[in-house]
C-alpha cells in the first residue's frame, strides 16, 4: 500500500516539476492546479465576500440603531431600495439580513476558511506534493467562483436578492407572491448554492483523499497536526451533510417551478387558494438543519484546529491533551449530526422529539468544554509569544466560551421557548460560530502569511487590528444578550410598533456604532494584507519557530512544495520546550536518534524502529529508480 502511494506521488512530482517552468500566466494564477494558488484564490475571494457581507451588516445596523435617520445618502448605491422619504425599504432590509447570513456562513466561513486553509495546509503539513487531484481542486474553486458570480448578480435584479432569511424556510421562499425576494432572487440563490455545494464536495472529497493517502513517510494519524485532524473531520462532515442541503434545495426548486408539493400545503395567498396539498414546511426544516447544524461545525472546527496549532506554537508548549483534542473533535463531529432539531423546538414538532434533541444537544457541550480547558491548560506555564495570530487565537477561545455557554440556554428546549428567534440567539451564534470562526481565519492568515507570500505582515498593525476587533465584537454582541433576554425578536425592521420592544433605543444605537467601528477596523487588516504581500518584510524560513512540515519548504515553495525529496516525519508536531533539548522546538523532521538528550523513555525505544523504517524506505526508492 505504502509503496504504491509512493510511486504515485513521486511520478506526479516529476511531472509537476517538468511543467513548472512552462506555465503561463493563466495556468499559474487563474486556472491553476497548484493547491497553494487555489488556497490564495479562495482566501482573496473570501476576503472580498467578507467585505460585502460586513458592509451589508453596517447598512442594516444603521436602520436598527438609527431608525429615523435619513438614508438618502445611500440612494446612489441602493437606488429604489430607498423610499421616497429617505427610508430603507423593509423588504430590502430583510434581503440584506438574508444575504449577510448567506455570505458569511457559506462564502466566507465555509469556502473562505476551509477552502483557504485546507487547501494550503493539508499538502504542506502532511508532506505531499499537492492534493490528490489537482484538477478537481481547480474545479472546486471555479464552481465556487461561478456560484459567487451568480449570488452577486442577484443584488442587481429589480426584485432584489433572496430575502426570506438565510435559512430560506418555505413557503415564504417558495412563493414569489409572498415577497419580492422570493422571485428571481431566490432562484439565483438556489442555483448559486447548488453550485456551491458541488464546489464544497469536490474540495471535501479531495481533502479526505489527500489526508488518507498522501501522508509522507512516518506521518501516522497520531503524528498529524491538529489542524489536519480538524480539516479532515470538517471535510467528512461536509461530505455527509451538504448533499442533504442539495436535496432540500432540489425539492424546493421543484416546488417553486414544477408544481410539486413537498413543502406546501393548504396555502391561501395573494387572493387565491393554491392547489398544493399534503406537503410539510417542517420537512424542509429537518433537511435544512441536517446540514445546517453540522455546518456550524464545518465553520468552527477548522478554526479550532488552526488555533490549536497556533496556541501550542506560541505558548512554546505542546498542546495539552493532544488525544483528548482529537477525541473531542471526533465527538463533536459525530454529535453534530444528531442535534439538528434543536433549531426546531417551537415548530410544533413532537415534544418528545424535543426532549431527545435537548439531551443530545447538551451532550455536545462536553467535548466543547474539554477543548476550552485544554486550551487554557496549554497556556499555563507557557512562554507566550503574542504574535497577532496568537492574540486572535486567544480571542477565539474567549468568544468560544462566551458564545458556547449561552448554548446551554438555547439547547434547553424549555428556555428556548422564550429565547428562540430573539437577539439572544443572534448574540449566541455570532460569538460562538461567527466571531470565533472569523478570528480563527484571521489567526490563520497572520500565522501562515509568511508561507503564502514569503513576506511578513506587520505585527504592530496586527496588534491594533486585534484589539479593535476583539473589543469591538464584544461591544456589538454582548449587549445583544440583554436585548434578547428582554425578548426582542430578530429580523425586525423596526421595533416601533410594539410597546414591549420600545426600550433599548440607546443600546441599539450603541451596538450600531460599535459595529461600524469594528467594520472600519478591518481596513487595517486589508491594508496590512495587501501591502505586506508586495512590500512586507521578507520572511525567514521558520519565523514562528514551529515544528510542522510546512516550515521545511523553501520560503517561496514552488510547484511540488519541496525541491528535493519530501522529508520524513519522526515525531509528533508538538515537541516544544522539551526538557534537555537545546532549542525550545524540535521539528517533526528531526529523528529521535538525533535527540537522545531530550527523548522520553518510550521514545528511546522507538529509535530502533525508526532506523528500520529508514532502511525500508531506501530500498523502495532504489527499486523505484531501477
Amino acid at each position: 500500500m505504502d509503496t504504491a502511494d509512493l510511486h504515485i506521488v513521486e511520478d506526479h512530482s516529476t511531472e509537476a516539476h517538468d511543467d513548472h517552468h512552462e506555465q503561463g500566466f493563466v495556468e499559474k494564477y487563474i486556472f491553476s492546479q497548484d493547491h497553494k494558488t487555489i488556497a490564495k484564490q479562495f482566501l482573496i475571494s473570501g476576503i472580498l465576500w467578507a467585505v460585502i457581507g460586513g458592509l451589508l451588516s453596517v447598512f442594516f445596523r444603521l436602520q436598527l440603531g438609527f431608525p429615523n435617520m435619513s438614508m438618502e445618502w445611500l440612494r446612489p448605491l441602493l437606488g429604489g431600495w430607498i423610499s421616497a422619504n429617505g427610508q430603507l425599504d423593509p423588504g430590502f432590509y430583510l434581503a440584506m439580513v438574508t444575504m449577510h447570513g448567506t455570505i458569511m456562513v457559506f462564502f466566507v466561513l465555509t469556502a473562505g476558511l476551509s477552502g483557504t486553509f485546507s487547501n494550503f495546509l493539508i499538502p504542506l503539513q502532511i508532506g505531499a506534493r499537492d492534493m490528490a487531484s489537482g484538477f478537481m481542486n481547480m474545479l472546486s474553486y471555479w464552481f465556487f467562483f461561478l456560484s459567487s458570480v451568480i449570488m452577486f448578480t442577484s443584488f442587481f435584479i429589480s426584485t432584489g436578492p433572496a430575502s426570506g432569511g438565510w435559512v430560506i424556510y418555505p413557503p415564504l421562499s417558495a412563493l414569489p407572491q409572498a415577497m419580492s425576494g422570493s422571485g428571481l432572487g431566490m432562484t439565483l440563490w438556489l442555483i448559486a448554492m447548488a453550485l456551491f455545494i458541488v464546489s464544497t464536495l469536490l474540495g471535501g472529497i479531495n481533502y479526505v483523499a489527500t489526508v488518507i493517502n498522501l501522508r509522507t513517510d512516518g506521518m501516522s494519524f497520531t503524528k498529524l497536526p491538529l489542524t489536519i485532524w480538524a480539516f479532515f473531520l470538517t471535510a467528512i462532515i461536509g461530505i455527509l451533510s451538504f448533499p442533504v442541503l442539495l436535496s432540500a434545495a432540489l425539492l424546493l426548486i421543484l416546488d417553486r417551478s414544477f408544481g410539486t408539493s413537498f413543502y406546501l400545503s393548504e396555502i391561501y395567498i395573494g387572493g387565491e387558494a393554491l392547489p398544493n396539498l399534503g406537503g410539510s414546511p417542517i420537512l424542509f426544516q429537518h433537511l435544512f438543519w441536517f446540514l445546517g447544524h453540522p455546518e456550524v461545525y464545518i465553520v468552527l472546527l477548522p478554526s479550532l484546529g488552526i488555533t490549536s496549532e497556533i496556541i501550542s506554537t506560541n505558548s512554546r508548549k505542546p498542546i495539552f491533551g493532544y488525544k483528548a483534542m482529537i477525541g473531542s473533535m471526533i465527538g463533536i463531529g459525530f454529535l453534530s449530526f444528531i442535534v439538528w432539531a434543536h433549531h426546531m423546538f417551537v415548530t410544533g414538532m413532537n415534544p418528545f422529539l424535543g426532549s431527545i434533541f435537548m439531551l443530545l444537544t447538551l451532550i455536545i457541550a462536553i467535548p466543547s468544554a474539554i477543548k476550552v480547558f485544554n486550551y487554557i491548560a496549554t497556556l499555563w506555564q507557557g512562554n507566550i509569544v503574542f504574535t497577532p495570530a496568537m492574540l486572535f487565537s486567544i480571542g477565539l477561545v474567549s468568544f468560544f466560551i462566551s458564545g458556547g455557554l449561552t448554548g446551554l440556554f438555547m439547547g434547553n428546549s424549555a428556555l428556548d421557548i422564550q429565547l428562540h428567534d430573539t437577539y439572544f440567539i443572534v448574540a449566541h451564534f455570532h460569538l460562538v460560530m461567527g466571531s470565533a470562526a472569523f478570528f480563527g481565519m484571521l489567526a490563520g492568515v497572520y500565522h501562515w502569511f509568511p508561507k503564502m507570500f514569503g513576506r511578513m505582515m506587520d505585527a504592530k498593525l496586527g496588534y491594533i487590528h486585534f484589539w479593535l476587533s476583539f473589543i469591538g465584537i464584544y461591544l456589538i454582541f454582548f449587549p445583544m444578550h440583554y436585548i434578547g433576554i428582554a425578548g426582542f425578536p430578530r429580523r425586525y425592521y423596526s421595533f416601533t410598533n410594539f410597546d414591549a420592544f420600545s426600550s433599548f433605543t440607546d443600546l441599539n444605537a450603541f451596538i450600531s456604532v460599535a459595529a461600524i467601528a469594528t467594520f472600519t477596523a478591518q481596513f487595517i487588516f486589508l491594508f496590512n494584507f495587501f501591502y505586506s504581500m508586495f512590500r512586507g518584510k521578507k520572511a525567514s524560513s521558520n519565523p514562528w519557530k514551529s515544528n510542522t512540515l510546512e516550515w521545511t519548504t523553501p520560503i517561496n515553495p514552488g510547484h511540488g512544495n519541496w525541491p528535493g525529496e519530501i522529508p520524513k516525519v519522526y515525531r509528533w508536531p508538538y515537541d516544544y520546550s522539551k526538557p534537555g533539548a537545546p532549542d525550545d522546538f524540535i521539528p517533526q523532521t528531526v529523528p529521535l536518534s538525533e535527540t537522545p538528550e531530550s527523548n522520553l523513555p518510550h521514545e528511546n525505544e522507538l529509535i530502533n524502529m525508526e532506523s528500520k523504517a529508514d532502511d525500508d524506505a531506501i530500498v523502495i526508492n532504489t527499486d523505484d529508480k531501477e
Binding site: 400545503s265 410539510s280 468544554a369 466560551i401 481596513f523
Partner: protein
C-alpha cells in the same frame, strides 16, 4: 461615492501611520527574537481587558436590569424564568472561571527571554475531572429542563378555554368557539375577503364562532391556543407569557398555558397605565413581519364571561353567507348564531 471617498481617506491615514511606524522600527534596528516590549504590552492589555470587561459586564447588567428583566404573567413562565436564572448562575460561574484563567495565564506566562515553558503534554487525571464535572452539571441541567419541558408540553386540561389564532401576511386573526365550545371546521379553499378563516359552514359548530379584534383571556384558567397559518410560516409570540409556537400552513400547532395576571394588574405592576399584552410574530414572514401585532387582554374570569356573551357571532355579522349553509342546517344556524328572524328574512329574500 461617499463610502468610496471615506474608504480612500481611511486607507490613506492607515498608510501614513504605517509608514511612520516602520520608519521608527528601522531606526530602532530591532534585534532577533520576539519583541519583548510589544509582548509585555499585549500581556498587560490581556489583564486590563479582563478587568475592564468584567467591570463593563457588571455595570451594564446593573444599569439595564429593569429593561431586560421583563414582567412575567404565566404560570410556566415563572418556572422557565427560574430555570433561566439557575442556568445563568451556572454558566456565569464557568464564564468567570475560564475567563479569569484565560486572561490571567496569558498575562502571567507572557514571553520572557530566559524563561522556558513547562513540557506538559497531558494529564489523564485532569482530563477525567474536567470531563466528568461538566457532564454531571449538564446532566442536572438536562433533567431540570426535561422536567419543565414535559410539563409545558403536556396535554392541555379538558376545561381549557380554546382560542384559535391564525397568522397571515401581515396580521393575526383570532376565532373563538362560541357557546358550544367547539371550533367549526375550516377549509383553506373556502377563504375569501370576508371569510378569512375559511370557515366551513356545512359544519354546525361554526355557526356560533366569533372572531373578535382583540384576544381576551380569563385570568387563572388554562387557555389552549390552536395555532395555524394560511400563507407562510409565522410564530405566535407573547413575551410576557413566555410563549412561542410556530404557525404552520397545513399543520395546526398548539400551546396551552395559564395567564396569571390581568391586564389591569399588569398596568399596576409595571406602572404603565397603557400596558397591553402584545402578540408578535417571531418567524420571518415577509416585508411586514415587524408589524404583526395584536393586543391580548387578560380579564378577571367574570369579566371574561361577560365579554364573551357580548360578542356577536361571525355569521350574524356576515349574514350573506347563510346562503352557503346547507338547506337543512339553516334553521340551526339562525338559532345558534343568534341572528334575529328579520335578518334571516332579508337573506332569504336575497337568495
Amino acid at each position: 461615492m461617499l463610502i468610496g471617498l471615506g474608504t480612500l481617506l481611511l486607507l490613506l491615514v492607515v498608510v501614513l501611520l504605517y509608514k511612520v511606524s516602520t520608519m521608527i522600527g528601522v531606526a530602532k534596528n530591532k534585534s532577533e527574537g520576539p519583541d519583548s516590549r510589544s509582548n509585555n504590552i499585549n500581556g498587560i492589555l490581556m489583564l486590563v481587558f479582563l478587568i475592564v470587561f468584567s467591570g463593563a459586564i457588571v455595570y451594564s447588567a446593573y444599569v439595564y436590569y429593569d429593561d431586560y428583566v421583563i414582567p412575567v404573567a404565566s404560570q410556566h413562565g415563572v418556572t422557565t424564568d427560574d430555570m433561566f436564572w439557575v442556568t445563568m448562575w451556572v454558566t456565569g460561574f464557568a464564564f468567570v472561571v475560564t475567563h479569569v484563567l484565560l486572561f490571567y495565564y496569558a498575562f502571567r506566562y507572557r514571553y520572557r527571554k530566559n524563561n522556558k515553558a513547562t513540557f506538559y503534554p497531558d494529564n489523564s487525571k485532569l482530563e477525567v475531572i474536567w470531563t466528568i464535572v461538566p457532564a454531571v452539571v449538564l446532566t442536572l441541567l438536562v433533567l431540570y429542563g426535561l422536567n419543565v419541558w414535559t410539563d409545558i408540553t403536556s396535554q392541555a386540561p379538558e376545561e381549557s378555554e380554546v382560542v384559535e389564532i391564525m397568522g397571515m401576511q401581515f396580521a393575526w386573526k383570532t376565532r373563538y368557539p362560541g357557546n358550544d365550545n367547539q371550533l367549526g371546521n375550516y377549509d383553506y379553499k373556502k377563504i375569501d375577503a370576508a371569510n378569512m378563516f375559511g370557515m366551513d359552514l356545512t359544519d354546525k359548530n361554526s355557526f356560533d364562532d366569533f372572531t373578535p379584534r382583540e384576544i381576551h383571556l380569563p385570568k387563572g384558567k388554562p387557555v389552549l391556543f390552536n395555532i395555524r397559518a394560511r400563507d407562510v410560516l409565522h410564530s405566535v409570540y407573547v413575551p410576557a407569557f413566555r410563549l412561542k409556537m410556530d404557525a404552520v400552513p397545513g399543520m395546526p400547532t398548539k400551546f396551552w398555558f395559564i395567564p396569571t395576571k390581568s391586564t389591569a394588574e399588569m398596568r399596576e405592576e409595571t406602572g404603565n397605565p397603557d400596558f397591553n399584552y402584545e402578540l408578535a410574530c417571531a418567524e420571518i414572514c415577509g416585508d411586514g413581519h415587524f408589524t404583526m401585532r395584536m393586543v391580548i387582554v387578560v380579564d378577571e374570569p367574570a369579566d371574561y364571561e361577560k365579554w364573551k356573551k357580548e360578542q356577536q357571532t361571525w355569521l350574524s355579522k356576515n349574514p350573506e353567507y347563510i346562503s352557503s349553509i346547507p338547506e337543512e342546517l339553516r334553521e340551526v344556524a339562525l338559532i345558534s348564531s343568534g341572528i334575529n328572524t328579520e335578518a334571516a328574512k332579508v337573506s332569504e329574500a336575497s337568495l
